[in-house]
């Protein structure tokens, strides 16, 4: 059983232990600053992002188009495009600073210790190889050089791949194994992508807009199934999504991102009952409700990263804008126990 195989791995997956090791975060991003070198100039996109994920925790990073959430994820995985530059900050995964590791060592972590579930099930799979080929390729890859061709016909590997397809509830794994991605529905492709990510037996899964390309009934199935898997396997997950309803369903804690900065951090339930940052408030209010209400939306547009607002990046769109908002950058600070917000409405953010 693939399930057993996963839990048999050394390296503590036990969840909820009060031991000190569980207190130490699995991933911590500290004050990350990323610039992009563009034709138009230097874009200061990620401006001091910090985030932590504890073992067994599901964290959602939410925000709208262009807020920098996908770039943050790519930075964690070391997959930034060539024109991006990490100016400062640390990315510490399982006690190791990823930025100091040579590429070779990074490759052993990426795809194995941390894996990404890609967003678009239509394009993330290679159309000219069967599902089985692609799974075997990943399964046989040991993080260094290509495994010899014989491994491809290795019965043991094949069994592992089929187990993985079973784990993500693909009906009839044997026949799916032989199929090409085009023969599968969107939901099935998404499941294959999850299986691919799980093959390396990762500690951390990064799910980029999981299921948002799918219909609501399929999205719901897949999210529920992944949540169950995460619970039983004790995985940590970083969900990147623009859909707050999805974030509410899957996460323990939420980071709200705006303009390349973290605007607010709170436990999921607390975030949805009351938002501290004006951006989170506006965002929540803009969501159409089943109970029959829809807010006003937020005036203006996301900041220009080449010439961003001088202090608070949300200030030009903020209904509570004050003089200080254009002079001093608000700190992400504990405005209430267990919650962080970066807004001058809360004295903790103004203190120097």
């Amino acid at each position: 059983m693939a399930g057993r195989q996963l839990t048999d791995q050394p390296g503590s997956r036990e969840r909820g232990n009060a031991g000190t090791r569980c207190q130490e975060p699995l991933l911590s991003v500290e004050d990350l600053v990323i610039h992009f070198h563009l034709y138009e100039g230097l874009a200061r996109v990620i401006n001091g992002v910090s985030l932590t994920i504890r073992r067994g925790e599901s964290v959602a990073l939410v925000g709208e188009t262009g807020c920098g959430k996908s770039i943050t994820a790519k930075a964690i995985l070391g997959l930034l495009p060539p024109n991006a530059e990490i100016v400062s900050g640390r990315i510490v995964f399982a006690g190791r600073d990823l930025r100091r590791l040579p590429e070779e060592a990074l490759q052993k972590i990426r795809g194995r210790k941390m894996a990404m579930i890609f967003q678009d099930p239509g394009t993330a799979l290679n159309p000219v190889f069967t599902v089985g080929d692609q799974l075997m390729d990943v399964a046989s890859w040991q993080g260094a050089s290509r495994a010899p061709l014989v491994r491809r016909h290795n019965g043991e590997l094949r069994r592992r791949c089929l187990d993985m397809l079973r784990l993500v509830r693909i009906p009839d794994p044997e026949s799916t194994f032989r199929r090409y991605p085009i023969e599968l529905s969107g939901g099935m492709r998404q499941r294959v992508l999850i299986a691919l990510a799980l093959l390396g037996e990762p500690d951390l899964l990064i799910a980029d807009e999981l299921g948002t390309a799918l219909d609501v009934s399929i999205q719901d199935q897949i999210l529920e199934e992944l949540r169950e898997l995460v619970r039983t396997q004790g995985l940590s997950v970083l969900y990147i999504t623009h859909n707050l309803g999805v974030a509410r369903l899957v996460s323990d804690r939420i980071y709200v991102m705006y303009g390349g900065e973290i605007a607010e951090v709170a436990p999921t339930a607390a975030m949805f009952s009351r938002q501290l940052h004006p951006y989170s408030q506006g965002l929540l209010a803009a969501i159409p409700r089943l109970s029959g209400s829809i807010g006003e939306g937020i005036e203006g547009r996301i900041p220009d990263y080449i010439d961003p607002p001088p202090a608070c990046r949300f200030a030009p769109r903020c209904p509570f804008r004050m003089a200080i908002c254009d002079q001093q950058r608000p700190l992400l600070a504990a405005s209430e126990p267990g919650r962080l917000a970066a807004c001058h409405l809360y004295p903790a953010s103004t203190r120097r």
């Binding site: 609501v216 199935q221 309803g245 509410r248 969501i287 089943l290 937020i298």
Partner: protein
């Protein structure tokens, strides 16, 4: 007054195979749809991928010719009209598409884009048209001075959709088909566009056909909602009623799957129903009730009998054998056994 009335609309797309392109089957995109839209109101078409909602929108505006059925617009049968005869009708019905990045010509300026329908229909002098374009831009809250001579790429997603809406308004239509008008936009922008659409509807007494996959959104824009599944309307009801008493098993499952953002909403949705399997291809519609392979309330006969749309009162109708009076109309069981 009923502005648009469709009866028994059918659209099959042939599936061909072999050297001679022989017809081997049909994609039953729309399969017997009847609906009516009252003037000044919004009817929402909701459904998942492949349910035929976009095809239906295009049939109703005669961008596609139906295989069968009848479309009556402003009391006049427009089903068999040729392109020439359709021209004046087309002025009365306009469309706004999902992705404003691709529905606006990237080589034209905003002024030319909005002016285009006026030019096509030979309306006004250039000076009069420019005045009209300015008025239209003001209507959609884009200051003409800043926007007239911009290209689409220099606009944000929300601004582009405002331009697309202004273009749709240029000919003073009575009906606008909005095909997923906000699904490419962020929620904070979506709320703005919805606010604009509602204001325009009030000011200009517009009638909307709102095509969407988002039930929470249509709850807030439509007077009535038609839920589609594999080319058929499976449930039709006033917006509020659909949410308080969803009657078709599919509607109920769909509602239960919506990710909510408040406890207040979560209390409104039915107990979670996880559907088995996925939507079949419209080229291989299951026999009997098309939903039966995924249905959790299936009874004997669902795989053989094609259910009729059965009226439940107050304009509420569901296409489900469970409401058949001949069977004693047992209805949908309240507590549904979870899937085995």
């Amino acid at each position: 007054m009923t502005l648009l009335d469709a009866r028994g609309l059918v659209k099959y797309f042939p599936v061909t195979a072999g050297l001679l392109r022989r017809r081997v089957g049909d994609v039953k995109a729309v399969d017997g749809v009847s609906l009516a839209i009252e003037e000044g109101t919004t009817l929402a078409l909701v459904g998942e991928t492949g349910s035929g909602k976009t095809t239906l929108g295009r049939l109703l505006t005669r961008l596609l010719t139906p295989t069968n059925g009848q479309i009556v617009f402003e009391g006049r049968d427009i089903t068999g009209l040729d392109e020439q005869a359709l021209r004046p009708v087309r002025r009365q019905m306009q469309m706004v598409f999902q992705n404003p990045a691709s529905s606006l010509n990237p080589r034209r300026r905003v002024k030319e884009i909005i002016e285009e329908p006026l030019v096509v229909h030979g309306i006004g002098t250039p000076v009069a048209r420019l005045r009209q374009v300015r008025e239209l831009l003001e209507r959609v809250a884009l200051p003409p001075r800043d926007f007239l001579f911009r290209y689409p790429h220099a606009l944000s997603g929300g601004q582009r959709q405002r331009v697309a809406i202004a273009r749709a308004l240029a000919l003073h239509p009575r009906l606008i088909v909005l095909d997923e008008p906000t699904s490419a936009l962020d929620v904070s922008v979506q709320a703005k566009i919805i606010g604009l659409l509602r204001r325009l509807q009030r000011e200009l007494r517009l009638t909307y056909l709102f095509i969407s996959h988002d039930l929470s959104l249509v709850r807030n824009v439509a007077e009535s909602i038609a839920v589609m599944y594999l080319g058929k309307i499976v449930e039709l009801a006033a917006a509020e009623r659909l949410f308080t008493s969803p009657s078709h098993p599919y509607t109920r499952a769909l509602l239960s799957a919506i990710p909510t953002v408040s406890d207040e909403e979560a209390a409104l949705i039915p107990e979670k129903i996880v559907l088995r399997g996925e939507i079949p291809s419209p080229s291989r519609v299951p026999p009997g009730c098309a939903f039966h392979p995924r249905c959790y309330a299936r009874i004997d006969g669902c795989d053989r009998v094609v259910p009729e749309l059965i009226t439940l009162g107050d304009g509420h109708a569901a296409r489900c054998i469970l409401y058949d009076p001949a069977l004693g109309a047992p209805g949908l069981p309240n507590v549904i056994a979870r899937r085995e």
